[in-house]
């Protein structure tokens, strides 16, 4: 279970402080699908990276499995990110000159998985993401959609319980976005908790129950349960 409590984030710069998130509170239960919707610049991306421990909040906390992650030492947050949190980014964030397989291996290396086992897990993850045929291809030679599928494979390779997706379809065409939706459906049905930050209307086409959190200028506008 994930609990976000009184979360605030202020960016300080020369021109003064900018409040990116103010007083965010919500809970996500296990195996739930949550979509955080808002225009770009509304703070949903920052929220997601605080939830992943990539960024520290100014105040408030994010509790994942009873650990307040902002207070955790780096080693523990990292281990959490490698083992229980998978992340999918808007820009895919793959290492361009490595092969798909090696990219998928990276979280497992942080977890010190022996190479043989790691390779086996990585190939499985690529299979789940339907990109196994490109496993030895260098990432820079893949299309956007293929990259996204490698990114998903990487996010799920260590069997995470939580998947965070930041604008996953922003760089995809309609056809690839559809494929992504199918994948999400498949993973959600496996029992993975999924949080997607997006402003892409395509998620309306999801045939799943999900809770929708609307966010604007760093504040939660509404929370509702949607049955797809």
């Amino acid at each position: 279970m994930i609990e976000v409590k009184n979360l605030n984030k202020i960016y300080s710069s020369f021109s003064g402080d900018v409040k990116v998130l103010s007083d965010i509170n919500f809970k996500i239960n296990d195996a739930e699908l949550t979509i955080i919707e808002g225009v770009s610049g509304s703070g949903k991306s920052t929220l997601l990276s605080i939830m992943a421990g990539l960024e520290k909040p100014t105040s408030g906390e994010v509790v994942i499995d009873n650990d307040s992650i902002a207070k955790l030492p780096d080693i523990h947050i990292s281990r959490l990110r490698a083992s229980t949190i998978g992340m999918v980014f808007q820009n895919f964030n793959l290492i361009e000159n490595l092969s798909s397989l090696d990219n998928v291996l990276t979280p497992l290396i942080a977890l010190k998985t022996p190479l043989k086992e790691a390779k086996y897990l990585a190939e499985n993850a690529l299979k789940v993401a339907n990109i196994e045929h490109q496993k030895n291809q260098v990432v820079s030679k893949l299309s956007g959609g293929e990259k996204q599928r490698v990114a998903i494979a990487r996010a799920i390779v260590a069997n995470p319980t939580l998947l965070l997706c930041d604008e996953p379809t922003a760089n995809l065409d309609y056809k690839n976005s559809k494929i992504f939706l199918e994948l999400i459906t498949k993973l959600s049905k496996k029992g993975i908790t999924i949080v997607i930050a997006t402003h892409d209307p395509i998620f309306k086409e999801l045939e799943l129950n999900y809770s929708l959190i609307m966010i604007k200028s760093g504040q939660i506008l509404s929370k509702e349960q949607i049955n797809g």
Binding site: L54, S78, N93, T106, P107, I109, K112, T113, L115, A118
Partner: protein, 391 residues
């Protein structure tokens, strides 16, 4: 700590980023090549000098006047022979004969009928036909001397102008073999009488005395006895000479080393810049790794190991290359700098002489400066906020 998947990634990151590393690899290779070549040369010279020293007499007795070794009277010989434990007292005749400001020969006079104090000479004398050699005024010359004389149109003889103002014509009997190393490059060997004439010594004078003391535990005692025998006497032992040569070449090596420390300092500045201004691609890569669960510690480990690999590769390449450069190609260019361009002793071949202390010295300078320069920049890259770069 290091499991095989980590090593797999290390290898991948090293070979897929060849371009990023190759510049540093090349620069450090050349710095190390120069450094190890000079140190190889200096230790090789030191090594062959030490080797030739093994054939030297145990003691040399000099007559000191005005702080310099002066000609000694041959009457000392009797007194020296009376000391118990001393054998083979030999009055030696040698000295530098200057042709002009720069060029000089080392003239050595030897007694061809008795055993030589120097085993190199002994072997040499045994090889020549004495009857023929002594029938005329002959000399043996070193390779550099021969070369010099040839280039100055002296084909088979040379006219020495003695300090008394007389000409003394000596025939070149034979060129000395090159095997005797550095010491034999600029020598002229002839009989004692002729050498005394060339050097301007009178018939009862010698340059100094060489003697041997077969029992090593007696040496200190005998040294004391000799020093109290004549007030002007100075005893130089084999060990003293050894020490002097060692410090002379250490000094030369030391000067070069300081120069290289400066170069390495400059190199480390380049490295520092390279790491502080990490490319955006590199930053993004690290941010990506951090995002998928690498800790700061993991990233530091990866970067340190990357650099260590680079250090090992460039180091071993450079050591192999400089071995080839010095001992197979005889270090063109560098040898002239090291030995002095105008010296006659340029004709030698460097004998392979590997000093492990030296190799570890080179390794330590390189390792420490390299790590020291990259350590803090590596940390900076590792702690940079992944969020900032991933946007």
């Amino acid at each position: 700590m290091l499991n095989n998947s980590f090593l797999h990634f290390l290898a991948l990151s090293f070979f897929t980023n060849k371009k990023r590393f190759s510049g540093i690899l090349v620069v450090s290779f050349f710095i190390l090549l120069l450094l190890s070549s000079t140190l190889f040369i200096s230790s090789s010279i030191k090594g062959s000098l030490k080797k030739s020293l093994n054939y030297q007499p145990d003691f040399i007795i000099q007559n000191i006047k005005a702080g310099e070794s002066f000609v000694a009277s041959s009457r000392w010989r009797e007194k020296l022979l009376k000391i118990h434990g001393v054998i083979a007292v030999n009055g030696r005749v040698y000295g530098r004969f200057f042709l002009d400001k720069k060029i000089s020969f080392l003239v050595i006079g030897i007694d061809f009928f008795s055993k030589q104090t120097n085993e190199n000479l002994d072997a040499l004398v045994n090889k020549i036909d004495l009857k023929e050699f002594l029938s005329k005024e002959n000399m043996l010359v070193g390779a550099s001397v021969k070369k010099y004389l040839n280039s100055h149109y002296y084909k088979d003889s040379y006219n020495f102008l003695t300090p008394k103002g007389e000409f003394l014509k000596l025939n070149i009997y034979k060129e000395l073999p090159n095997s005797s190393g550095l010491v034999s490059q600029d020598v002229v060997i002839t009989t004692k009488d002729l050498a005394k004439k060339i050097l301007g010594l009178s018939s009862n004078e010698v340059s100094d005395f060489a003697l041997s003391v077969p029992n090593p535990s007696e040496r200190e005692n005998i040294r004391v006895k000799i020093e109290s025998l004549f007030f002007g006497a100075r005893v130089v032992t084999k060990e003293d000479i050894n020490k002097k040569i060692a410090s002379l070449y250490d000094y030369k090596g030391g000067v070069f080393l300081i120069l290289y420390l400066i170069v390495i300092f400059a190199f480390s500045l380049i490295l520092y810049l390279r790491y502080t201004i990490a490319t955006s691609i590199e930053r993004k890569e690290i941010a990506t790794l951090r995002a998928v669960g690498w800790s700061i510690k993991d990233v530091i480990k990866l970067k340190l190991l990357e650099n260590l690999t680079l250090i090992f590769i460039s180091f071993s390449l450079a050591i192999i290359a400089s071995y080839i450069f010095v001992f197979i190609f005889d270090a063109p260019i560098l040898r002239a700098i090291f030995l002095g361009g105008d010296s006659l002793s340029l004709n030698l071949k460097f004998k392979p002489y590997i000093d492990y202390g030296l190799i570890s010295t080179i390794f330590i300078i390189y390792l420490v400066t390299y790590l020291a320069t990259t350590l803090i920049p590596i940390w900076r890259i590792a702690i940079s906020d992944p969020k900032e770069v991933l946007r």
